[in-house]
Amino acid sequence: MDKRMTTAEMVGQLRDGMTIGIGGWGPRRKPMALIREILRSDLKDLTVVAYGGADVGMLCAAGKVKKLVFAFVSLDFIPLEPYFRKARQEAAIEVVEIDEGMLLLGLRAAAMNVPFIPTAVGLGTDVLRHNPQIKLIASPYADGKDWVAMPALKLDAALIHVDRADVRGVCQITGPDHYMDDLFVRAAERSYVTCDELVDSDYFHSAPERARQVYWERNLTTGIAHVPGGAHPSSCAPLYGFDVPHFKAYNASAQAPDGWQAYVEQYVDCTHEQYLEKVGGLVAIRQLPLPVF
């Protein structure tokens, strides 16, 4: 069994109008090499589901997003994502803005093959007013209350970046948090995973604690691409932190005339190997300090 693919082959399997879930959280462990591959493609009209960072910002800037399902889009140390902001303020995208936990429950419902999960989250807020497709349901039990019926967020594809994987699709995340990546994978028809390191299966067998850092079964992994530094400029702890100067320059580009075009020419219209060179090389990426909070 060998699930290796190139990132171009992965994106070649995506179609206009698909619903795409993106793993990671804000500026952390985002499948950025895959995002850049989408930016180079003709894909359009995507529905994007994410705990958003520059992945969402870049897809908005490139006009790839029809609809965004989100709870936040932020680079954390730069709180407001500049291109997402621009897209919202120009009314360029449709939005489904929900609570972080509602997003989790929507993915979990899809993963469980149930149409919805009841929750209190969202009650009393404008999340319900702006999303009339999210319905309330009367409890069939003695509490006598109405609850939010958070609908399943079914994904056509999930895009994920991990530390390590083998060719069969066993994926390891060693960082302090795997975020909701397992739920994105379980909610998706197909999951495309990039990894910083491709390992022999023996890597897992020789140290069982590594198997505890595998959060979904390999039969949920559709394809694997070996892309060292593939999360850059987001982090892939503990291998590397996020690239603060790069994010600052990216943020500043939104204020410059033709700033996005210049960013694309510099960092998107090239191969991944050329990209690594332009941002200082893999060795430099691996030395980016982990953030301290």
Partner: protein
């Protein structure tokens, strides 16, 4: 903790005032988003409520608050893993009290961090609702407002209700206002709560040198004022020492414009 300090900054006064939010909470997760709220939670864990739980602001529960900024060799004392998925398990169980900084707050205590202006085409897009809807329906919440003015304390409802408040018009069937728990609002002028008649927002204490009129002028709706409005307690020398230990690089000094002193002359 009792000797009052004679010199302290407004940031330190606000940290001490906000740390009171957790005093009677028992064993709950204290979350403070931002430097001053985090220091307030940390201070409470080291003084008024040692039973509190805190995280390292990333993915672990810690046995003692992690100092702000560069660690200089300090190793967080990790008790257990606490990644984001597990944070929601905690939130929905209700054993948490968060101190967060909304962009807008209205007379019901409804709060907004999503966007300003028309929702379809916002004048200013901000973060998104984040975890506000779930926090506000699940557990106790307090607010931190670094600049008390009418743009924050708005006249009508907030532009996007991200966080539920004591608004009967928005209650779902079968729910009661008793299931919503908003505690303190700590601003640069005063401390507010909802202990006025019918949960009206009330001035709980005025910071030294601030008048009722000044607070009311900077608030877009009527506040309840008790006959004797106390002055916010000055930090004690012991509290200031703990704050210094929790914030050795003095990051707190850069949180409020010009780092004003805590004792202001009457204006």
């Amino acid at each position: 903790m009792t000797t009052p300090a004679t010199t302290y900054s407004l940031a330190e006064l606000m940290i001490c005032a906000a740390s009171e939010a957790w005093r009677d909470d028992g064993e709950v997760l204290a979350t403070g988003i931002g430097v001053i709220p985090r220091l307030a939670a940390s201070l409470s864990m080291l003084s008024s409520n040692p039973q509190l739980l805190m995280t390292d602001s990333e993915a672990y529960m810690v046995a003692e608050p992690v100092p702000v900024g560069a660690r200089n060799g300090y190793q967080p004392k990790c008790d257990s893993w606490m990644g984001f998925s597990r944070i929601f398990d905690n939130v929905w169980g209700g054993k948490r009290h968060a101190l967060v900084g909304p962009t807008q707050i209205d007379r019901f205590g409804q709060a907004n961090i999503s966007c300003i202006g028309d929702y379809a085409k916002p004048k200013a897009q901000m973060l998104g609702v984040r975890g506000f809807p779930g926090n506000s329906i699940s557990h106790a919440n307090s607010f931190f407002v670094p600049s008390h003015n009418r743009r924050v304390f708005v006249e009508g409802e907030v532009d996007m209700v991200a966080s539920v408040g004591y608004n009967p018009a928005r209650l779902a069937r079968g729910w009661s206002l008793d299931e919503i728990d908003i505690r303190l609002i700590v601003t640069d002028l005063c401390v507010l709560d909802f202990q006025g008649p019918d949960r009206q927002m009330r001035i709980r204490s005025l910071h030294p040198g601030v008048t009722v009129a000044e607070v009311q002028d900077n608030t877009g709706f009527a506040l309840h004022v008790a006959q004797d409005c106390p002055t916010t307690a000055a930090p004690s020398e012991a509290q200031l020492q703990l704050i210094q230990r929790l914030d050795p690089h003095n990051v707190r000094a850069s949180q409020l414009k010009d780092n004003p002193p805590g004792q202001r002359n009457l204006r």
